[in-house]
Symmetry: C2
DNA sequence: ATTTAAATTTAGACAAACCTAAAAATAATT
DNA sequence: AATTATTTTTAGGTTTGTCTAAATTTAAAT
């Protein structure tokens, strides 16, 4: 069907596309793909020939409808495998990304539909990101960054923006986890850091932390 | 570590090597890999440079100790994934091969050790083939081909030689499965076909069938 | 022991996905 | 508006793994 590289490009374009309405730039894609701009141009042309993206020279690239569907299938697979790794194989949420990055390319419709069933049709992955269904539909939760809350407001931790192992391990160490209730007790004007109450704990967190935690009020 | 292609060659050499003590011929490898002899020569040189095989021009190829270890790791992964697919995802034994062929290349030590634990350290795959442990050790069962039994002898079906979907579906249709007791009631001199008693059923099977069923007496 | 046949290797090409360096187009700045 | 800086594309090359066709080696047959 599609090569590993093509799939990875589609996924990258999908992720970059949601940050803005404009086309995804060659440089941004090169950065995301850890490659050179010239390589991106080559690949984008190929994807354009296959009608997976819409591309006009110097104008950036957009996913076509079929490109979007393909990207969503890969993301679905990635997130289902992440759930599997955490729920069934005792991986922690900071260990799953690289393995899921490989597993997401396994080509078998049955494998994914059976895995979905085996996991009892999970709606979110271990980082709180939604899992598209077989048709590519998924709910976009109305979530807010913790950094956007005001003193006194409270909500539930429903996701993380940064999913790097470093950040996730920091959260683990401070017993900050999905599903927990967080209340903003105070905000420091000077550096924006917050004093938060998370279940029984109380701690101060920097903006680097608050800008990467999603809360549902 | 190793490329997909390199891994597949090692696996193929391993499987061909056990049929005889001589080196694996270029043509045999080409046949097994569904490619051309010239491509095999190229790859075999590369594997030889990497000390994974021992190769002398025109003399066939042998796995080195490290090549054998690598091959066994891939086979271990393949068979563990087959168990997973059958036991957890309701695949039938004739559906698992192609998917496992992809899954076997996922690179993660933890993934495999956790999968092994999750499956409760299975010793054999759905076709009765032994699963090497993390160190590459596995038991070679003392099994006999059904075609080598004489009238009156009986034993347990412990494996199949041919694992093609066609053969496996034939066995399913005739309720011939791993673990069942088989007794040879009669053998036809003319074509070698056998009348067998398998649990409550009695049926006649051709040599094509009997030569692909392993029995433990 | 030649000759013929089969198996294997070499030589040269190709596609995919990447690269560097140079050219071209767009955006930013004065 | 002209110049400079940045971004993007083009041109040409590399590597991996494949191929075809020709050359070579080994095996088989006369």
């Amino acid at each position: 069907m599609f090569s590993l590289s093509e799939e990875n490009y589609l996924k990258a374009i999908f992720h970059l596309q949601k940050h803005s309405t404009a086309g995804v730039s060659t440089n941004a894609l090169a950065e995301e793909m850890q490659t050179k701009a010239s390589s991106v141009t080559d690949m984008v042309k190929k994807l354009s020939d296959k009608k997976l993206v819409v591309y006009k020279k110097y104008q950036g690239v957009y996913l076509s409808e079929s490109g979007r569907k393909t990207a969503l299938k890969i993301i679905r697979k990635h997130r289902l495998w992440e759930v599997f790794l955490v729920e069934k194989l005792d991986f922690s949420w900071d260990e799953v990304h690289d393995v899921a990055e490989e597993l997401e390319h396994i080509k078998s419709e049955k494998l994914i539909s059976e895995l979905d069933k085996f996991l009892d049709y999970p709606k979110r992955d271990p980082h709180g990101d939604p899992i598209p269904d077989a048709k590519g539909n998924f709910q976009v939760a109305n979530k807010t960054l913790l950094s956007d809350l005001s003193t006194g407001e409270k909500g539930t931790l429903v996701g993380v923006k940064d999913t790097s192992p470093e950040f996730l391990k920091y959260l683990d160490k401070n017993k900050i986890a999905l599903g927990k209730t967080i209340e903003v007790l105070d905000q420091e004007k000077f550096d924006g850091s917050m004093l938060i109450q998370i279940e029984k704990n109380r701690l101060r967190v920097s903006t680097l932390v608050t800008a990467n935690i999603y809360i549902k009020i």
